[in-house]
């Protein structure tokens, strides 16, 4: 088992894509760890690198353009990046499973849902077809699909979006994974269905004791479900905290801006607060802190414009990457104060 109840720790991972137009640094120096049985959320806007981080953990970065250029991914005491492809295949879908955003496109339309789940079970467990089929029916029942005996022989197109996402979840948890990576699992669904699916994930987590890496752009979902949160901006993590602290007192100006720009029920305002500008293009990142052109402090500050702040611990378990966050000190400054 991992140390200190940690199931997965990602250490200084950088993933780059070598394109014709230059190197896109999709993930830069990202570190975080997920505790046993907890939900860790990775939140950020589109293109910030959260999905690439997930794919890096699964080692599903498509070469030759994409490459994990540095770092370590320690899962259950082993560095996944040292494993041979065959060993990795043993972990993928077995100990680490993943569900995707689009329940429409991530199921194969020409096989029944039963066949697809049976395939996953038999790939990783020594079970006969009949046993695996029975397990599949039970899994479908567990994820709340009504009439599973009949539904198991249906094709994906015969099901609604919510049902398909349930099938995906059934497939993902069929081998009792220790870690479930959920990449925007409810973005394509309506709110009432989203609530049902998130409840289901909670229930399964309670039963199996698995950890969940929840990737989302929806801060509301994070506030409701996650134990810990990392906020990503332009390929880097800018803030990590327990979610109750993050929403109470966000430290990074980007997190603050995001929370302020959300319209909230019951709070009437004439205008919404905004973050000026747009997310930078990964081929042409600004110098210094990547948020400085949009930051109320950083856009006129020399240090922010020239030197990028690293992610540092500022107080009890909270990390932030901003020169102006309270308690943020460089190694040099720390030495001086001691």
């Amino acid at each position: 088992m991992g140390d200190n109840g940690k199931l997965l720790s990602v250490e200084n991972i950088s993933t780059h894509f070598f394109t014709e137009d230059g190197v896109a640094q999709a993930v830069q120096d990202v570190s975080f760890s997920i505790k046993n049985g907890k939900t860790f959320a990775l939140v950020g806007e589109s293109g910030c690198g959260k999905s690439v981080t997930a794919l890096s953990i699964m080692r599903l970065i498509a070469g030759p353009q994409g490459k994990i250029v540095s770092g370590k991914i320690v899962f259950d005491g082993k560095n996944l990046l040292d494993l041979k492809e065959k060993q990795m295949r043993n972990i993928r879908g077995n100990k680490i499973a993943m569900i995707f955003q689009e329940p429409m496109t991530s199921l194969n339309p020409v096989y029944t849902v039963g066949n697809q789940i049976v395939e996953a079970i038999r790939l990783h467990q020594k079970k006969g077809h009949e046993q695996a089929w029975a397990d599949t029916v039970e899994m479908l029942h567990k994820v709340g699909i009504p009439d599973p005996e009949r539904r198991v022989s249906e094709y994906p197109h015969q099901m609604s979006g919510g049902m398909r996402q349930r099938v995906m979840i059934a497939m993902a948890v069929s081998c009792q994974p220790k870690l479930l990576i959920a990449d925007e699992p409810t973005t394509a669904l309506d709110v009432t269905i989203q609530a049902q699916i998130l409840d289901l994930l909670d229930k399964l987590q309670e039963q199996n004791g698995m950890s969940i890496l929840l990737i989302t752009h929806d801060l509301g979902v994070v506030a409701e479900r996650a134990d810990d949160v990392a906020v990503m901006y332009a390929s880097r993590i800018v803030e990590v905290a327990e979610s109750k602290f993050l929403f109470e007192k966000p430290l990074h100006p980007y997190t603050q801006g995001l929370l302020r720009s959300l319209p909230r029920l019951g709070i009437s305002a004439k205008r919404l607060q905004t973050i000026a500008g747009t997310v930078p293009d990964p081929l042409h990142f600004p110098t210094g802190c990547k948020f400085h052109p949009r930051c109320p402090i950083g856009n006129s500050d020399k240090r922010c414009q020239s030197i990028e702040p690293g992610l540092r611990q500022v107080c009890d378990g909270r990390c932030v990457a901003c020169w102006y966050a309270p308690g943020y000190k460089t190694e040099q400054e720390k030495k001086n104060t001691n």
């Binding site: 049902q196 720009s261 959300l262 319209p263 029920l265 009437s268 919404l272 747009t278």
Partner: protein
């Protein structure tokens, strides 16, 4: 605006049914009642929000109003004329006054046209403006939506999602419409961009006195943006009220559940919510009686038998279609 107190658009008992055809002779075997008796009215300069989950018919309402899909029955009165029975010539005029902003900023801009062509097309077609005057007007529109006029010769792929949506807004405003139908204008955008576009739409409303029909699935966005909100479920409006009243005093069990399902950005509120069981029934064979009864926590025998009409309950412009919520 001159007549802020009168209704600019009045939709009365609008029905849009799509026939379901089967067999060799393509016989009509039934109807998908996408919009089934929807009525509402928007005052000049106001914003009416239409909310509901996917498939509830909100987009079909929008399309029926401008006759992009033929309505089956009902009336759409825009500035005193019935849009649904207007002849070609009149319809063309009406379409000058009603424009649409679409959801998908990627799919709704022709990738082979420059920004200038896209924004200028309605001006060319409807007003016959050409040459330097056209360029001037397009440049003016671009700056109104916060884009540099130099972008006029660029193509849509050179822009981010938020910028594209600004182009869509500029196109919708080109003919100085009175009514703008916004069909999920921000749901494809990131949070930080979403707030920029919502503010832009508010500013433009103040500047040009626009009236909006705002369609969205996100109640928080609608509550912020709209004066009046109508909640749709399976082709019908189940509740309608001023947005503050609706938020503070939701009456229909569906509205309550919808509000409760929205994840709040406050971890303290965790686990305090009401869940809806089941899914939206197929619109091909809707349940009898109140369409919401199979999922409703309050449903009784009478709900299965009789469908409720939308009726005003407390004299505060608050309309609801539910027995139970009228009891107290």
């Amino acid at each position: 605006m001159a007549n802020t107190n009168s209704y600019l658009l009045k939709v009365d008992d609008l029905k849009t049914w799509f026939p379901v055809r089967k067999g060799l002779m393509r016989k009509t075997v039934g109807y998908v009642k996408a919009v089934n008796g929807v009525s509402f009215a928007i005052k000049g300069g106001e914003t009416l929000g239409l909310v509901g989950e996917s498939g509830c018919g909100k987009t079909t309402v929008a399309r029926s109003i401008v006759r992009l899909v033929p309505a089956t029955a009902g009336e759409v009165i825009f500035e005193g004329t019935d849009v649904l029975s207007a002849d070609k010539k009149r319809l063309r005029q009406i379409r000058k006054d009603i424009s649409i902003i679409f959801q998908d900023p990627y799919g709704s801009l022709n990738p082979r046209m420059t920004v200038g062509d896209i924004i200028g097309e309605p001006l060319k077609v409807q007003k016959g403006i050409r040459g330097s005057e056209l360029d001037q007007q397009v440049a003016m529109l671009l700056s109104k939506v916060g884009l540099a006029p130099e972008y006029i010769n660029r193509y849509p792929h050179e822009f981010s999602g938020g910028q594209r949506q600004r182009i869509g807004v500029a196109r919708a405003l080109a003919l100085r419409p009175k009514l703008v139908i916004c069909d999920e204008p921000v749901s494809a955008l990131d949070v930080s961009i979403q707030s920029q576009i919502l503010n832009l739409l508010k500013d433009l409303q103040d500047e040009f006195g626009l009236t909006y029909l705002f369609i969205a699935h996100d109640l928080a966005v609608v509550e912020f943006f709209c004066d009046v909100v109508a909640v749709m479920y399976m082709g019908r409006i189940v509740e309608q009220a001023d947005s503050q009243e609706l938020y503070h005093n939701p009456l229909h069990p569906y509205t309550k559940a919808l509000m409760s399902a929205i994840p709040e950005v406050d971890p303290k509120l965790r686990g305090k919510r009401q869940r809806l069981s089941g899914e939206v029934p197929s619109i091909m064979n809707p349940p009898p009686g109140c369409p919401f009864h199979p999922r409703c926590p309050l449903a009784e025998k009478v709900c299965e038998a009789v469908e409720q009409k939308l009726e005003e309950i407390n004299g505060k412009r608050h309309l609801v279609a539910c027995w139970k919520s009228r009891e107290h």
